[in-house]
């Protein structure tokens, strides 16, 4: 292996072997017991706490932190899982500075919120690592529900339905379940196969059958599912990706790049460009850029067509990119690719009312690999489903225009490309399905038996 960071072209093995482990190590290592105690002591146990309001899954954050404080982290974990069965992944990937931690009153008090995300991970890690699933199913109802998509929305829905005694079959287009948790996020956010381990633990409730490699419209139809099942939940996410106005052999979807990276056991075998340009301004752009840098790219540039304040990536993510050695160029709209591979940009200016103006001035950024992360879109949808703004139109807790068909997560209106929102929508749709099919009104907590001390 003689490649270095300076080797031109898209090549593997730019770094010494040990560098990969360092570059893809846990970006936010877990708190130890002492750190957790210190962090937990900072919680004020607010009344009607703003952090709960800010959490799409409404986790009772002050309660779980108090449970950590009092030496019962497993109880804290159960408080989290009652609201959010993906509490482990959300602790890793949530943009907490925009959610719970952004609402923490200590942010106002002294500029540093309680480390809610890290505490949530502390409370949930041991329970998941125990491999023992802490919920038990309610009595069997004999009802069968199809879930399309084994991502956060689909599995959250499936888990809640299974907990209520329904039988669930999950159809998923990929080889492995987990959706974006498995394929779509930067590997340093969920190391050591956490996404797969979490799904396996989640399935421990029983009553959920996974059918991988089953894509809606290709392998199964909505019509057939409606015929066979008592209800259908659609949570397949956004299968399509937006395209640039030009193409070239070295231009690639960032989503594909991340997915391939996530599924590559030995990262030294994964090719990456010397000069990588990532086009886009969201979390995916950052995940792709930082990982390209981690693979040994000499220069990585995120180019976003509007100003920094409009970037979808959170401030924390932008800072993470910058400190990882990624350059962020804003107000640069991609125009074309030159013969040498460089991307040509037009400088832009943001005007009031979201208007963007091209200044007419241009620049070029050298590139032997271009990763495109300018958003995803809904794949082909079955006839009869009402679409609104490029997503499946839903009302209430995810009801679509088709009877007995619900939708949630990124594929549905209200989806905001956050794991935690997808989890909430899947959960709430499950409650609605249950209520509609059985006539039982939903209760705050799932009607399941908690196996306390699961991690014992």
């Amino acid at each position: 292996m003689t490649n270095t960071t300076l080797t031109p072209g898209v090549v593997p093995g730019r770094l010494p072997p040990e560098a990969y482990a360092a570059n893809f190590a846990d970006v936010a290592p877990p708190l130890d017991a002492h750190e957790a105690k210190v962090a937990a002591d900072r919680c004020y146990f607010c009344y009607d706490a703003p952090c709960i309001t800010a959490c799409p899954t409404s986790i009772d954050i002050p309660l779980f932190i108090r449970q950590i404080q009092s030496g019962t982290p497993d109880a804290a974990g159960m408080t989290i899982f009652h609201s959010n069965i993906f509490g482990g992944m959300c602790a890793r990937v949530c943009p907490v500075e925009n959610l719970c931690e952004g609402a923490c009153v200590r942010l106002e008090a002294e500029g540093e919120p309680v480390e809610i995300g890290a505490l949530q991970r502390y409370a949930t890690d041991d329970i998941i690592a125990s491999g023992i699933h802490p919920f038990r199913r309610g009595p069997a109802t004999g009802l069968r529900i199809a879930v399309v998509g084994a991502g956060p929305a689909g599995l959250s829905c499936a888990h809640r339905l299974a907990a209520k005694g329904h039988d669930v079959v999950v159809f998923d287009a990929h080889a492995k379940p987990g959706g974006l948790n498995e394929y779509g996020i930067a590997s340093y956010k969920a190391v050591d196969g956490f996404a797969a381990a979490e799904v396996e633990w989640l399935l421990g409730i029983g009553g959920i059958e996974l059918r991988q490699g089953q894509a809606l419209g290709r392998d199964v139809t909505l019509e057939a599912l409606r015929g066979e099942f008592d209800a259908v939940f659609l949570g397949m996410g956004l299968a399509g990706v937006n395209q640039l106005g030009f193409d070239a052999p070295h231009v690639r979807d960032a989503v594909d790049f991340i997915a391939e990276l996530r599924q590559t056991p030995d990262l030294s075998t994964l090719p990456v460009g010397r000069d990588v340009v990532v086009i886009g301004g969201g979390m995916t752009a950052v995940d792709a850029a930082v990982q390209a840098k981690g693979l040994g790219a000499q220069s990585v540039t995120i180019a976003y067509r509007r100003g920094p304040e409009r970037m979808g990536a959170s401030r924390h993510e932008q800072d993470h990119a910058a400190t990882s050695g990624v350059r962020i160029v804003t107000n640069a709209a991609p125009k074309a690719v030159g013969a040498d591979g460089a991307v040509e940009f037009t400088w832009t200016r943001d005007l009031p009312d979201s208007v963007m103006m091209n200044t007419g001035e241009t620049t070029r950024i050298a590139a032997d690999q271009v990763l495109v992360a300018i958003g995803q879109r809904l794949g082909a949808m079955p006839e009869g489903l009402e679409i609104e703004g490029g997503r499946i139109a839903v009302r209430g807790a995810g009801r679509t225009s088709v009877p007995n068909v619900w939708a949630g997560g990124d594929c549905a209106t209200g989806g905001d490309e956050l794991t935690v929102t997808a989890v909430a929508q899947g959960r709430d749709a499950a409650e609605d399905i249950h209520e509609l099919l059985t006539g039982d009104a939903p209760v705050d907590a799932p009607r399941v038996v908690m196996a306390v001390g699961a991690a014992g």
Partner: protein, 432 residues
């Protein structure tokens, strides 16, 4: 610069901060380090009678109560008096006093309750050069079972008797250290005064069990599966100590009796509070055991700054708050305050709301945007919101101006009427 030089019953020290009789003052090594750090004096850890020294447990001897971030709020101990030979202690006291003539060294004593024992120990300590003695009538554990410590301190007649023996057989200044484990702290103080004590010091530790091991079902600290009550000290006991100091200071029978204040003194402010309530100096233990001897430096600079800002000499601080300590029945019932919330300082945690709404008087309103405001017509001015607010001075109590009507009661502020004058009191005296 404001002088902190202190003279307590004639015992001079460069500042009023003494280390209390306790583990930190058990031997020469510690006391030298304490003096180097700046402590004004020490009360050497209690000496017992000649003979085989007492034996301490060989398991944990301290228990603790923690606040947030494992901050030590209170420690209890089951340690006995010094377990080192008497002569070793005497030799060390003499050596230290020779090298630090400007610092106060008082020797704490505890021997069996007979005149000969006291006469003997007083004779033994005569040529150490120590400045005085402190009679340990306070320790509530271990030694009390043997008829010493708080077993003496809980019986005023014994206090008076032993104190008189000490004053008969010694010319040294004598401080009587009192136990708080009594119903009325004034009684032992009066007894000490009758016996001829030059001063009292208080409080010794409070009888306590700090916690229970929920796996072994035994009190902590646990010795081979069993635990016993120990003496509680530290910031948690300060309010108890302040009250007892004030009770003695304002008691006509003991008024003017010098008091050495002890009990949770952690910062200069605590010390100043003890002194304002009548303590002539203070003794410290838990703060030093928690943070080391260096804490005295903050006490020195803090008290000096405070006195400087007040343009007050140290002796003028002593007892300055005593006239304002009174009985409940003399509090003005026509004095009104209302909580007010500084919206600029509020961090919107809602703890004031939870406290008031759930446990008090429903006098705080919560509006959209998490805006918390006080409902004057409901506020009884209990101060709970002030107490639970995490931001200092965010919630304060506003005094109603004279003539202002309290919207809750309709009463007019600015008058004076205490319970002895109140119409609701069947025993009330008509105001003249």
């Amino acid at each position: 610069m404001t002088s902190l030089a202190s003279s307590f019953i004639g015992i001079k020290s460069p500042n009023p901060f003494w280390l209390a009789s306790a583990p930190p003052t058990d031997k020469e090594y510690n006391v030298r380090r304490a003096f180097e750090a700046g402590w004004g004096g020490v009360v050497w850890k209690t000496l017992g009678a000649e003979g085989p020294p007492v034996v301490n447990v060989n398991g944990p001897r301290y228990g603790v109560i923690h606040g947030a971030d494992r901050r030590v709020l209170g420690i209890n101990n089951i340690e006995l008096i010094t377990d080192r030979p008497l002569q070793v202690n005497l030799d060390e006291i003499k050596a230290v006093k020779r090298d630090y003539p400007d610092r106060a060294i008082v020797i704490s004593l505890m021997v069996p309750c007979d005149e000969e024992s006291w006469k003997a120990i007083l004779h033994r300590i005569e040529d150490t050069g120590a400045d005085g003695v402190e009679l340990n009538f306070g320790c509530p554990h271990g030694m009390a079972e043997r008829g010493m410590g708080s077993a003496v301190g809980q019986v005023p007649e014994y206090i008076e008797m032993v104190t008189r023996w000490v004053k008969t057989h010694s010319r040294m200044p004598c401080i009587v250290k009192l136990t708080p484990n009594v119903g009325d702290i004034r009684k032992p103080a009066e007894a000490a005064k009758r016996g001829g004590a030059d001063a009292v010091s208080l409080i010794n530790t409070v009888n306590s069990i700090t916690s229970v091991d929920l796996d072994r079902f035994a009190p902590e600290p646990t010795i081979d599966g069993k635990g016993t009550h120990g003496g509680y000290c530290g910031p948690a006991v300060k309010p108890i100590a302040l009250n007892m100091v004030a009770e003695i200071a304002r008691n006509p029978a003991t008024r003017g009796l010098p008091i050495s204040g002890i009990g949770g003194v952690t910062t200069w402010r605590d010390a100043a509070e003890f002194m304002a309530l009548g303590a002539g100096n203070v003794q410290v233990c838990t703060a030093a055991m928690t943070y080391g001897f260096k804490v005295v430096q903050e006490m020195i600079t803090g008290l000096r700054q405070y006195l400087g800002e007040k343009e007050m000499a140290l002796p003028d601080l002593i007892g300055r708050a005593v006239p304002n300590v009174t009985d409940w029945q003399y509090l003005n019932l026509d004095y009104f305050t209302k909580a007010q919330i500084d919206q600029d300082l509020c961090i919107h945690c809602g703890r004031c709301y939870a406290a008031c709404e759930d446990t008090s008087h429903q006098a705080i309103a919560m509006s959209p945007g998490r805006i918390f405001t006080v409902k004057d017509e409901e506020c009884v001015a209990c101060n709970l919101c002030v107490d639970v607010c995490p931001v200092e001075n965010c919630i304060t109590m506003r005094e109603l101006a004279p003539g202002e009507v309290d919207p809750r009661t309709g009463a007019v502020a600015g008058g004076f009427r205490d319970w002895t004058q109140h119409p609701n009191n069947p025993m009330a005296q008509a105001a003249e």
